[in-house]
Symmetry: D2
Subunit: 436 residues, 4 copies
């Protein structure tokens, strides 16, 4: 029996040991935190799971999502029941502890699932870290199937760049087909479906001296009789000059009436998003609950973005920089240019949000994204009401007093299939309320 | 013939005299400016008309709207042809100069009209004047049939008061049924259909120490699933205290979480409008091209409002004061209270505007009012494009550069049948453009 | 005292008798049915009221709307309290019985009202009657201030005519300015606010051999990019020929590709409506809960229309006949022509409906009218759900089974400020349900 | 060297031959039809290409899309210029004929592309064929990355089955997670981007005796005040019985009022779609220009569907059968059940359509799919106008006459992110028009 003892002590090489002892039963300790992955047909879900093992009885208890776990472990074989809070069995899992992980078959009222569990990844030494990432490929689709370009941890900062909406970089070199090619995706370790991803934009600055824009107003922002009588202008030059010294942007070769016309330089990112739900793959010119092309001119240096997480690692993309943009991105393409970007990520575990949220020094902001402005406004108002009701424990009349007396709306984006409206509440007014 | 002399002297009774002298022709001088009123079936239209008479030939020439006039006068009988710019006759008028006016019958390609003309009213001595008007009756309908309470002239200033949306005045006395009872209508001499009425709000101040608001959010601003799960709060006390010293408003008897919650006092008028087109009579809770219940929180002290004129005298109403209001008036009734009002009017002859316009120190603003936000936004954007294209002689791509890079939207009103969105352009950016 | 006795017996000449006895107090019998009219500030309301008098005690009890009445009568002086169902006093009325009516002052918690009551008008001998009405004036405004052209009773039938949308009659004579001039208003005796007016269209037939239509599609039914590239056709001849023998309509002078193109003759009324709520006056080209220009091609011979009543007598207008019309009236003006009309009216007392309802042999139909199609659909669906839930005592899931499996929608009207969608349920499917 | 002769003759085995002769340069004949595939960054495009080779000069001419081709071939090396119609060079391609195909590098004004070309696949002997396909896997995403389950040719017929929206098959066995799992994708040989895919539904029949539906109306079809006051019914049993003998469907365990309520059995497919544009992957509960979950109750036996093709092979999916459905699928889930399906496909090369089109014995139908009903209607009307203007060479006023007098709308689908409206024109009315 002498060989066994060192084995039991050497827990750091549990696997080798277990294999070594395959001929004889050995208790594997499955206690602690896990990431559970289960697949039923083509549906994959990932959850945080915690297990506790009673050494004496081999009973395993635990929690996954809102379900309790009750089961047994015998050597490496586990058998787990998932129970509702009032004790009804909703699924039974059997499996094996192997290679430091768990793996097996589930039964959901007759429907089979494959499941596996792995230990959460540990933050590396020296965290939080700052990464400098120079993109070489750019993606025009938000998708969970795109391989991540970088794995980062909550607290980490990334310094990177984005090219413009037509695929041209800071050296005016063509790097991609147009249509909002983005930088990323960044895999944020520890971000799981049901969490909120936090992205703090530390620095968003233009990195070349020109931008280009659309040449005319988008049709859906104009009345039919205006459109029917519109005399379109041919060959209008809509290239802009970026003057960082003066902090302004102006047309490079203005027509006579616009000589002297300039607007403040206000660098922003048109698109910040994560991989959308399930098998969805969405063009980066679109937006949705995953964020994306919200084209909101307040997504700029100093802003913090909260996005729902739908996949392991969240898979964060960003880009589509604008040197300046009026509300709604009325020329279809705003003042498109390349950007230097620095951002810091964080994860709020199990913070369920229905739609992107933003925050800056002044405002809490909820972004409503939908197929019409009327519906986008409903989404934005509702999300803001829920935000206040949730975080400050207000009833619907109490939140109504705040929204009715002080909430403001911005119209963020009018381009593409979905439009977006932002509901915003001054943070100063919430100072006396008790955050829960 | 002794009877003739007193007649010639008594010019104040021209009519009697003219009739008396019917046997002898007398030339009436119809030269100069007129206000023409014509009626075809139940349709009444009013226009500025100018006539010139050649003493030698009795030929009458002139202009009304875009039509040229060519005719003759013989004694008091006039015969006029209305011609298009290329000389086609569109109507013939015959009539008589009588009692200082003109009156007769028109023929529009077989359809008869009654027409009459009067001399424009002259501004009184001492103009511009300041009127103090204490309202005793309040109207809940925008209508041209409401008798005016005061006749004023361009340049005049009016000091008056409004009661709150429920009909309660500054002494907390009930003065009307609820539903936005307004002060007015003020008849602005010289304002004619096709003109723009200008209303400068010099002073808009609350004049009592309380307001009341709705108790919950309006349904159309909320998502269906929120509404289906809403637990409404009973007997919520939504009376507010106005603290003019501190410049804040807060709930009078707040529930626990809202103790300490207050918003800045920002007095505004929910409703400023003129009599709507034709025979329309519209509840004052509604809005439209005539203005009305736009519920825009920037219609406050310092703002200038431009409204299209549809009737002789414009017939201006105002009221529905709010001590403060978030965008959209989300509680249906904002912080409703009574107001002290001072405003100055002006008239821009033949300045055709499609929808209400506003101006303050910072912005030009066009109000889009329609049955959905999507349509209201189209109206607002289009009106702003037309404003810039008209006043600064820009082509559609030039106006697109300004709108695309710098225009902002506000969502003004979400209550009632029509909603409103405001498109606004910073005036500072237009400084280098040449106003035509 | 002998003279008093016959008086008390001769109740049929109450008034004469009361006057006769004016020198001496006489008990006036106020028992029975009344029409109560009350005015608070500028708000007028009319209700059915019933009173019962106890001969012994002079106590007066009764009902008005949902309020109970409790009061006294002393000679001709009445004093009445209005009470909620649980006995709380909401108003006190005092007044006098005089000239067969009642008249006095009310007090609503400090706010004064004027009230009066009259006996309901009795149906004349020979009812129901058929009236032939030849209109001489036409109205382009739905308004309660328009004097009625004919007083009719429930059950009565009217034979009349309408002119076309441009004001031209069956003899091609110009009778009005264009803009949907309508025939009426007809005052329906006994129709009171809160009732539903029933209009059965017995006969709707074209009465001349031509129609005219718009020449191009309306802008709001077309996509922006189509509008921006539209090459409008000049001088297109859109006069149509009505061939009643063949039952078809075709272009009078078709361009080459449309030679041979014809559509079935399907005469309909574009506009049927009553005077709108309160002081509102609305152009006849508009629609709303009062009906109006719904432009629904199923409002034709054989259809029954139910409209909410907002004013004493309802004040029914109709016209805007179309020889044929696709859904939505896409050319702005459909195949406009004059009509022979025969309809029969009825009144459903206190049948509260939120929006116009229709019925024909096949369908129950609810018309949703709003500022956008999305909202119009919500109104139509909701009204149909309420119709089924009310008339068949269904819960929301039961009505959902019917609507989800069998309801159809028609898009009725896309022209003007409000659009309309019709929700319709086949009556055959409701045959087994129990009407309450 | 006798072996060479048969080789040159045996052009049917060009590839084997070419390899055989690799040591000596041989002229490869690249004349004829090709399928060109090119990739620029992550953008892939496929086009039909035709080449003609002059034997004498080695000059290669041809056509791809709207571009002319002019180049040379030397042995197996090709060098091609793509030119606009007026001769401007837009790209140059160089490459090699190898293994029966072509392959090389392109240069688009400095941007590199990879290109390759293959010969079109030839229809097999015995075409058209009828395939019986029994699905074993079901997909809940429209995506070009899903491997096709069957390759079919234009003219071929497929007999297959679909499971219900919750994943249950005709034997009531669970086969997939819910959310409209579909059968397919079918790869249609010869279908290329820019073509229209034609799907004739020969037979759509329920194949089990039960269905299930949602239990309440969807929120977005109801007015806010109805929703706020809704008393939801718990545990309502919405399982339906399908009685194919009687051709009716009725609740399995109806509540009292619905005993006797039944609706006609009208089997339809809720979802028929192709792989969407580019890298998009879209849940099968969604719809778009690719078709998908249009939930239109006229997509049933006898209907023909036209869908735009975005990828090589089109990749056709279908399923989501409903035993019956009212307009809009108001219960969110209609009467969901499994289906027997038989359909025949065809391809219309380079028939560009903007949105799905349908046809049955009675109507031409264009499906407008968008984020709001107002926008969906614009899309549907526009597509129908374009259909008529394109196929019958009508000007906009001529198409307006048809749409205005005779077009009808159906509201197809109100569920999910996009809603759909169908514009339909009776084919009988088009009989006299000349199809181009």
């Amino acid at each position: 029996m002498t060989r066994i003892l060192p084995c039991l002590l050497l827990l750091s090489s549990l696997l080798a040991c277990a294999q070594d002892q395959a001929t004889r039963p050995v208790k594997v300790d499955v206690s602690g935190a896990w990431i559970l992955r289960e697949q039923i047909f083509d549906e994959v879900q990932t959850h945080r799971m915690s297990l506790q093992v009673s050494r004496l009885t081999n009973r395993v208890t635990g929690q996954v999502g809102s379900s309790k776990i009750d089961g047994t472990i015998s050597d490496s074989h586990v058998s787990l029941k998932m129970l509702t809070s009032n004790g009804r069995v909703i699924a039974t899992y059997t499996g094996e502890a192997k290679d430091g992980g768990l793996k097996g078959i589930g039964d959901w009222d007759g429907t089979k699932s494959q499941w596996s569990a792995r230990r959460p990844v540990i933050k590396p030494e020296g965290s939080p870290r700052t990464h400098t990432f120079t993109p070489t490929e750019f993606y025009r689709t938000f998708s969970a199937t795109t391989p991540p370009v970088l794995h980062i941890f909550p607290g980490d900062t990334v310094r990177t760049k984005s090219i413009d909406a037509a695929g041209t970089d800071e050296n005016s070199a063509r790097r991609s087909i147009g249509g909002d090619p983005l930088t990323g995706p960044f895999f944020v370790e520890g971000a799981l479906p049901g969490d909120a991803l936090v992205i703090k934009l530390n620095r968003i600055r233009t990195n070349r001296d020109w931008a280009w824009s659309g040449q005319s107003l988008i049709g859906n922002a104009l009345a039919p009789d205006y459109l029917m009588n519109l005399k379109r202008v041919r060959d209008f030059n809509s290239r802009w000059k970026i003057d960082t010294a003066k902090g302004t942007v102006y047309l490079d070769a203005p027509t006579n009436p616009l000589k002297g016309f300039s607007v403040p330089l206000q660098p922003m990112l048109g698109s910040v998003g994560v991989a959308p739900q399930g098998h969805n793959a969405t063009r980066t010119i679109e937006s949705g609950d995953f964020g994306g092309n919200m084209d909101y001119n307040q997504i700029k240096e100093g802003a913090t973005i909260y996005l729902p997480v739908f996949h392991d690692g969240a898979l964060l993309f960003m880009g589509d920089g604008h040197a300046a943009q009026g509300d709604g991105e009325l020329t279809g393409d705003a003042l498109e240019t390349s950007m230097d970007i620095e951002f810091t990520v964080d994860v709020l575990p199990q913070k369920s949000i229905g739609t992107p949220r933003l925050e800056n020094d002044e405002f809490l902001m909820a972004v409503g994204i939908a197929g019409s402005l009327d519906q986008a406004l409903q989404t934005a108002t509702t999300e803001m009401a829920r935000w206040l009701e949730g975080d400050y424990k207000l009833n619907p009349s109490e939140s109504a007093m705040i929204l009715g007396s002080a909430m403001k709306y911005d119209i963020a984006d009018l381009v593409s299939t979905q439009v977006s409206i932002v509901a915003k509440v001054p943070k100063s007014l919430l100072a006396t309320l008790k955050h829960q």
